[in-house]
């Protein structure tokens, strides 16, 4: 009974229950979405987007507007700036993105540290799941329902495009459009999730769960379900740690997500799968057809 009391203690507080509900809804969607982010190698893009939207968050805080609005606007501006900077062939895409993101984070910090700015920089950077509002919960629920529906509808095109873009295009899918929808989902997820985990830690809920489960998943659908489950369990673990050890809730959840990723990554794959991946191309030759 003592163990159960110990585990249930955080739920006796309404604040913690709301925080857990927010994290469970956001985690369910982000854990599933993260599989495609990792598969399409968009982790760096996701990190850039989440960091680059900081000025939008700060401006919303300064204006007293909903943070979600600031996050959405910030994400749009960050995406446009990153796209512009990464197109400069003189510096290269990675360097251009790094400069754009660093500039945006610097601008956000500059605005947040102005003398008349409210003391919320810490919350914007590291999140505050304990401070979620009714509006945040509604946004998380909408994200879960709409994002989940979009992922379900896009499942077959996403699978085909991730496996073989050229073959998928020949079969009638549109890889560019499919990836664009994926990026829009990513931006929406970051804009909502940033309320609880902040601009610096939100990446953990997108990348941690898929890394934890991806190498052992039998199919994309199972990887998405397992990723969502890992995100929810890690959120519960993080909140438990935060409650009992009196640590910051957002950071505790982020660390729990990263621990899950480290644990999953440490587990080795089956040797047979590894052999299949490492098998080199042995020879090239053309076919000889029977004469007609």
């Amino acid at each position: 009974m003592e163990v159960i009391d110990f585990l249930v203690d955080p739920l006796r507080s309404g604040i913690d229950r709301r925080a857990l509900l927010e994290l469970a809804m956001v985690g369910s969607l982000c854990g599933a979405l993260g599989f495609w982010i990792v598969t399409e190698r968009l982790a760096y893009g996701a990190e850039s987007l989440s960091h680059g939207l900081l000025p939008g968050l700060v401006l919303a805080a300064l204006a007293g507007a909903p943070l979600l609005l600031g996050a959405a606007g910030g994400a749009l501006v960050a995406a446009a700036l990153i796209a512009f900077a990464s197109r400069d062939p003189r510096v290269g895409a990675d360097t251009g993105t790094a400069i754009a993101v660093t500039g945006l984070v610097g601008l956000g910090a500059l605005l947040a540290l102005a003398p008349d700015a409210p003391q919320r920089l810490e919350e914007l950077l590291f999140g505050d799941p304990l401070g979620v509002t009714d509006g945040d919960l509604v946004a998380a629920a909408l994200l879960l329902v709409l994002g989940g529906t979009a992922l379900a509808a896009l499942h077959r095109p996403l699978t085909a495009v991730a496996f073989d873009p050229a073959g998928a295009a020949a079969a009638g899918t549109r890889p560019g459009l499919t990836r664009l929808v994926l990026l829009i989902l990513l931006a929406a997820a970051v804009a909502v999730a940033v309320q609880g985990l902040g601009a610096l830690l939100v990446l953990a809920v997108l990348i941690g769960p898929p890394v934890a489960v991806r190498s052992r998943a039998a199919s994309p659908a199972r990887a998405m379900v397992a990723g969502a489950a890992v995100a929810v369990v890690a959120s519960v673990v993080g909140m438990e740690v935060s409650f009992h050890a009196h640590t910051a809730a957002g950071a505790s959840v982020a660390l729990a997500l990263c621990a899950a990723a480290a644990l999953g990554g440490a587990l080795r794959q089956s040797p047979r799968a590894a052999r299949g991946r490492a098998r080199p191309r042995s020879r090239r030759r053309g076919p000889s057809l029977p004469a007609r």
Binding site: L154, G276, G286, L289, P290
Partner: protein
Amino acid sequence: MSAIAVEKMAAAYDGAPVLDGISFEVPPGTSVCVLGPNGGGKTTLFRVLLGELEPVAGRVEVSGRPAYVAQTDRTRLDFPVTALDVALMGTLAGGRWWLPPRRADREAARAALERVGLAGEADVRFGELSGGQRQRALLARALVQDAAVLLLDEPLSGVDPASETQIERVFAELRESGRTLLVASHDVESARSYDLVLCLNRRQVGFGHPAATLDRETLQATYGHELIVLEGGRAVTVQHHEHGHSHEVGD
């Protein structure tokens, strides 16, 4: 009516010309071997025929949406899909992409896998299949798509003899059923068994029946310094790709 009609087509990447002066027509039910050195424009031609790359000049007409069989190393071997999942991707061509596959789709995919001799490996992960089995799974995807034109990019590279036999049998069946095959290859000798051969080296070097087209001059113009003429009249093409291979050709 032609299955493929290309007239004075030119293609470029970011303004840099890659192919120029391409004109040929392929009747339905014909097999065409596309020969050329690496960088000669074979893949670019396929991209144009797939509608993935807009030609900068000329006219291109293809009967329906072609199916494409990529080289297996263009696919994700670490992606968690089975041979059946890969074959099922061909059903996307029928629309309804937002809904799960129907029973009829699954039956078509299983039938295609059986046709390429992979019925027993339907539930095996793609990355765990042998090179030949992977190529057959990709061929099954194209069969499910049921296209009039199939574009195959070096379909026998890395393929074991059993798979090679199976794939050649399917090719013959496709031709018998009126399908048109365009097969990119480095193997000049095997090109002689096709109905037509198209030689590319950033331009159209030759097109026609293999017996009339694959002479020494055309091969020299196609392969340049990669063609070595041996004592006795035989010639060898040396392809400088990742593992380095050579193919003997008669002359």
